[in-house]
């Protein structure tokens, strides 16, 4: 007999969200298959590529390595919650401006990690950006444009707050 489904109550992108899941379902599976939030991508499914990165209680995690049942009471932010209603987040703008994506599969994960980085460290050095984003893999860009985009996004914030 299969394990019983559970009701899990979370906050996703600021909205209280209740879902049903089996214990074996990961947060990524529930986001994509149950809640239809398909912005988080499945890459490696083993915690190497970071394409499924979301913020769980403010910290970046690989949602493929989180069981959805663990998320009772958790605050989850996905790529769908990043842009304001009237446009794009400055990190998203910077990725477009800097052409920091090609196929785009890794982009949601990079943007979530970059958001977390800039929250903790508003003006990171290039080395700090590269180290912080090490858990996100990109097979197209060669990373330089991604790093530049994060630098631009950091500058944009400085201009906003200056």
């Amino acid at each position: 007999m299969m394990a019983k489904k559970r009701v899990v109550t979370t906050s996703i992108n600021g909205t209280e969200t209740e879902f049903l899941c089996e214990p074996r379902q990961t947060l990524l599976e529930v986001l994509r298959d149950v809640l239809d939030l398909t912005g988080s991508k499945e890459g490696c499914s083993n915690g190497n590529c970071g394409a499924c990165t979301v913020l769980l209680n403010g910290d970046p995690v690989d949602s493929c390595l989180v069981l959805a049942v663990e998320c009772e009471g958790a605050d989850i932010e996905t790529i769908e919650g990043v842009a304001p209603t009237d446009g794009l987040h400055r990190i998203q703008d910077a990725f477009l401006e800097c052409a920091a994506l090609q196929c785009g599969i890794c982009t949601p994960g990079f943007i979530m990690s970059a958001k977390s980085l800039l929250q903790q460290n508003p003006s990171p050095s290039e080395d700090e950006i590269r180290f912080y984003l090490a858990g996100n893999l990109c097979r197209c860009t060669g990373y330089d444009k991604i790093v530049r985009a994060v630098q631009e996004a950091a500058k944009a914030k400085e201009e906003v707050t200056a």
Binding site: M2, A3, R6, E22, P23, R24, Q25, T26, S45, N46, G47, N48, G50, T53, L56, D59, P60, V61, D62, C64, L65, V66, L67, V69, E70, E72, S113, S116, L117, D127, E128, R130, F131, Y132, L133, A134, G135, N136
Partner: protein
């Protein structure tokens, strides 16, 4: 992923009860960064996963005059954000900062790293250097094991059926002491140690002579190693490069690595000496109150 039941007990007693009699078919979930992957790939096939993160004893992070207590389920990022650990148990913070990427550090725990008992675990040499004691609870009560005696073979440890690792206890930081952990990897980040070295030193009040030292080695034997004689050799010696070079040679002699995809035996033996020297120098500098520049990712 295979089907399994899930429980998230709020107390240690409840957790032990869940594990008792399961004969390995119940697995503890802390950060899940290894467990969930192993269940998905079929390497592990538990019928029950017990989430231990809701148990207060496993989340403790507390400094007192009797020492530091670190709950087994505390995540790496909580550890390196803790000012006491960063300043007084630096080797542990050093190791937590370089495990996986930030996504892994948000979830992975030092207790889980130890219980997986991999020879190349980054935090274990740091725990050995810092003289950690494992507090283990099970159906027959609580017992303590020195961290250097915890791992018994690759992936194997002293935990008996029904037992769980509850916390790691560290002795109070001594005056004029310092520690460091560093590993060698061919990349800058997201890699497994070819060799890892953790060391702590205590200096005397004039900060010229070493009172005691402990050195832990990773990835050079079937288990993380306590290079006890290398640390003991430093007791009473001047805190200079000559003494450190002698201890590094002694640590090198303790290394019994294998050839594998990450490095040859010969290379690992050599790196053990070089890295032990560098790590001891950094530990001495910290014991003298000097700040140590550690390149990001190292």
């Amino acid at each position: 992923m295979r089907d399994f039941e899930y429980a998230a007990p709020a107390s240690l007693d409840e957790a032990i009860e869940l594990f008792t009699g399961k004969n390995g078919s119940a697995k503890a979930l802390a950060g899940g960064t290894d467990l969930i992957d192993h269940v998905r790939t079929g390497r592990l096939s538990p019928d029950l996963i017990v989430d231990i993160k809701k148990i207060s004893e496993l989340n403790i992070l507390e400094n007192s005059s009797s020492g530091f207590r670190l709950g087994a389920a505390v995540s790496c990022n909580r550890i390196y954000r803790d000012e006491t650990i960063v300043s007084e148990y630096s080797a542990l913070a050093d190791s937590c900062r370089i495990i996986g990427g930030v996504q892994i550090q948000s979830r992975a725990s030092v207790g889980g790293n130890l219980c997986n008992s991999g020879p190349a675990a980054d935090t274990t040499p740091a725990l050995i250097a810092l003289e950690a004691t494992c507090v283990i609870a099970g159906p027959n009560g609580t017992r303590e094991v020195a961290v250097e005696d915890f791992c018994t073979a690759p992936g194997q440890n002293v935990l008996q059926s029904g037992e769980i690792l509850v916390e790691l206890k560290f002795p109070p930081r001594q005056e004029n002491s310092g520690s460091h952990y560093r590993r060698f990897i061919p990349r800058y980040e997201m890699d497994i140690a070819v060799v890892g070295v953790g060391a702590s030193v205590v200096l005397d009040s004039d900060r010229e002579t070493i009172v005691s030292a402990r050195i832990g080695l990773g990835a050079v034997a079937p288990t993380p190693l306590f290079a006890e004689s290398a640390g003991d050799l430093l007791a009473g010696m001047p805190a200079n490069d000559d003494s450190i070079a002698q201890a590094a040679l002694e640590a090198q002699a303790a290394a019994k690595p294998i050839d594998d995809m990450r490095g040859t035996k010969e290379f690992r033996v050599h790196v053990t000496r070089v890295l032990t020297e560098r790590v001891l120098k950094a530990a001495v500098a910290r014991a003298k109150g000097e700040s140590v520049e550690v390149a990001i990712g190292h």
